[in-house]
Symmetry: C2
Subunit: 512 residues, 2 copies
Amino acid sequence: MNETQYSGLTIAEAQEKLLALQGRISAYQHAVELLMYDGMTTAPKGTAANRAHSLGILTEEIYKLSTGKDTVDLLEYLDEKIKGAPDEADPKLKRMVYLMLKDIRQMQKIPMDEYVAYQELLVQADDIWHKAKEQSDFPMFLPVLEKVFETVKRFAGYCAPEKDPYDYWLNEYETGLNKKILDEFFGTLKSRLVPLIKEITAAKQVDDSFLKGDFPDYKQEKLAYFLMDKIGLDRDHVGFATTEHPFTISLGSHLDERITTNYKPHTFVSSMFSVIHEGGHALYDTGSADDLAFTVLDCGVSMGIHESQSRFYENIIGRSRGFTAAILPKVKELFPETMKDVDEERFYKAVNKVEPSLIRTESDEVTYCLHVMIRYEIEKMVLSGQLEVKDIPVEWNRLYKEYLGVDVPDDRHGVLQDSHWSGGNIGYFPSYALGNAYGAQFLKKMKETVDVDACVASGNLAAVNDWNREHIWQYGSLYEPNELLERVLGEKFDPGVYMDYLEEKYRDIYGI
Amino acid sequence: MNETQYSGLTIAEAQEKLLALQGRISAYQHAVELLMYDGMTTAPKGTAANRAHSLGILTEEIYKLSTGKDTVDLLEYLDEKIKGAPDEADPKLKRMVYLMLKDIRQMQKIPMDEYVAYQELLVQADDIWHKAKEQSDFPMFLPVLEKVFETVKRFAGYCAPEKDPYDYWLNEYETGLNKKILDEFFGTLKSRLVPLIKEITAAKQVDDSFLKGDFPDYKQEKLAYFLMDKIGLDRDHVGFATTEHPFTISLGSHLDERITTNYKPHTFVSSMFSVIHEGGHALYDTGSADDLAFTVLDCGVSMGIHESQSRFYENIIGRSRGFTAAILPKVKELFPETMKDVDEERFYKAVNKVEPSLIRTESDEVTYCLHVMIRYEIEKMVLSGQLEVKDIPVEWNRLYKEYLGVDVPDDRHGVLQDSHWSGGNIGYFPSYALGNAYGAQFLKKMKETVDVDACVASGNLAAVNDWNREHIWQYGSLYEPNELLERVLGEKFDPGVYMDYLEEKYRDIYGI
């Protein structure tokens, strides 16, 4: 060990310094997150450049605090100490040191000039993607998308030259994940989903005409607050706003969470399920143990686990027979024009209508994973060199026809619909499908000790929330996703459980 | 000059470093201001502790950046360079160095432990004041208020032992100000205001019954946006929200300004004039020259000048015959229930109704300065030792009877009404009265080149705003208040002009 300012500190003294450093970083992150939140919610529209000025300076400061020599010295000192007596070290401390060093070592492998160039490329890509989507013009997006894919592949080579590049990125978004696991996962799903969808499509369609009408914002807002209370969010710590796209963000720590929604004037269910979905993210975040606040452990461990919670509340709870019945009186009170004669069963079936479609974010529970699978197949092919970026639209449209039976009319409703690739998030999509499957397996486990159906039907989710808090939320990022799954489930991840759930639910709804 | 890292830099190089430093500080200020704004507007109510954590860390960082050794070295180096060739130095640079060094030298005179203790005292004082006001309990507030007055006096002794303590603080809030000037100023006002109020009180009162009714928030919000546009605010750079008390804040620079208002359900004029008042502050801030952004010059120079702008728009413009006539159609459209039969003259007179009352913030243009004068007399007596803090309420009530002829029923409607003393802002009140008087003198000057009445009556304030921008706004803090006044007016400050304005306007309204 080299001599540094930390040499000679006890592990407790060094731990205290590390906590202070994380507290410091979290204050800067609070500022950056709030600046972004402000930009997306209430800031006047001409103020982006003013915010960019401050964001640039504060982000650079976070980078320095997170990766500067002092920080590296402290982390390496603690790492050595922990390795010297691994059984004595506090598991939280071990995990903090591990996560912080991992980020630093990854950053050190990417040449700084290439990293900066990539950040600039992403700003440009986001801008071009917006315009290209608006004009449904993939060729406009192509040059910058090619650069994004090329950079992502190159960076994987810097960080893990021994690994397949796509495997590297899959593991970045969901530790432990790789193509082998996903091929199996999606294989199981595809083999059971495609026939299920065929059967549903052939069956009598459910009626959801009463979900359409004219629903003013102020009434949809009332429903949003009602739902926030209903799923058990603590509104003293969870704020609410409207934005172009719904999202969830923690400001500073899990003690201040914000969710947003977007009202569509002709259907109240879009915002309704957005609120429950974002509410699920917020429940996970705010359920973090209080002593994790202002540390790197104070956030969900992965996108997959995060989506398991948001989609658990949105679909498994929110689209259940019990929950839809529990909220129906409020829905009727707010929207009597179309809802007054609708009974519990019709409402339940309507919000679960299955219909193969073009847009992932608007798709139903059954077809959703096929949308994800198409993106997975394409990313896999591009990163392995089997598909050129310029040929993505043709392959996209072919897969939509094959998996979902729909014809893509233009790139706007096809390959340009998602923002992920312009943001460099390649390898991110699979976590959505994984989240669905994790959620179903959590449900099965939960049912061993909680009468979930009775709890949901009662309209009080306390028992469900307590189970999630005890088994998942409180740990923040303490355990890797696969480690957490095994601790919670006592068994390996099994996508068959998710398919069992879907088949049982939708065979009942469609009488097949 | 001592050797530092800056020795040998050209003045241009050092100036560039100073600009970068100010840009850095402004990013931190942006974060701190936005955190406070969020707390006062949309943050969930249980999140104050989370915000305090980040505010503490970021505020400390601003302190270090503003007063650290590197900063002092840079400023002193520039100061020497400027003194070596005073005529060659850029006036903006000179002023930045002067203002930044002034703050540092003041901070250096106050022992750090006493400064920290005072900050803690103010947090406590604010909390106790809120409770004491609610319960109308001055004795509850007394011990902490005594400490605030004692500390303020002690700090004046540290910073300017040669000066009278009240003169020191008056000069801090408005450079160049002292008791001698204010005694003269208030003497003039009092000698003409008291008889004027007597005549008005004896005259036939104007009818303002139609200003009362039931006015829903969403309609008052429409009026607020209408007024923002009407007075010429650029809504691409000026945001709007509702809060308990109206205020104006710049976020990061003059490029992102926010104003707030508060709706009273039974009168629309309260929010109406709050919007115009805060809008006046925002016009001043956003009118700053763009090259002042991210420097210490990018803000109004003093409270007095700031209030001159806010009260100019609120009263001189907003309560003028021309402006009230110009907005009346919109007011009738929004509030036909009480306003449909009201003509221009009745509306004009109603919003200018004079009535001696208890609360400063709700008082009319004529009696307003008397409220301020009472606070001035009390602060002066306490700081000179002529009045003990415990005896303030008796003196307060006596002065309200003497100046305004009203009986103070309890401390809540008396000495506990304002937050300023609990915030340590002793010497701040006079700027409100000065602002009124500055505004009248600006109006007189403006009328030499602008047909103000025609401009206001046309409902388009462009010519008025252009004059203010050219003569006042663009300079930010470049000139001291008295320097700015003389540049704008070409003559000394003369409170008689303000009295002429009031007498002319109110003799006409009351037919006296």
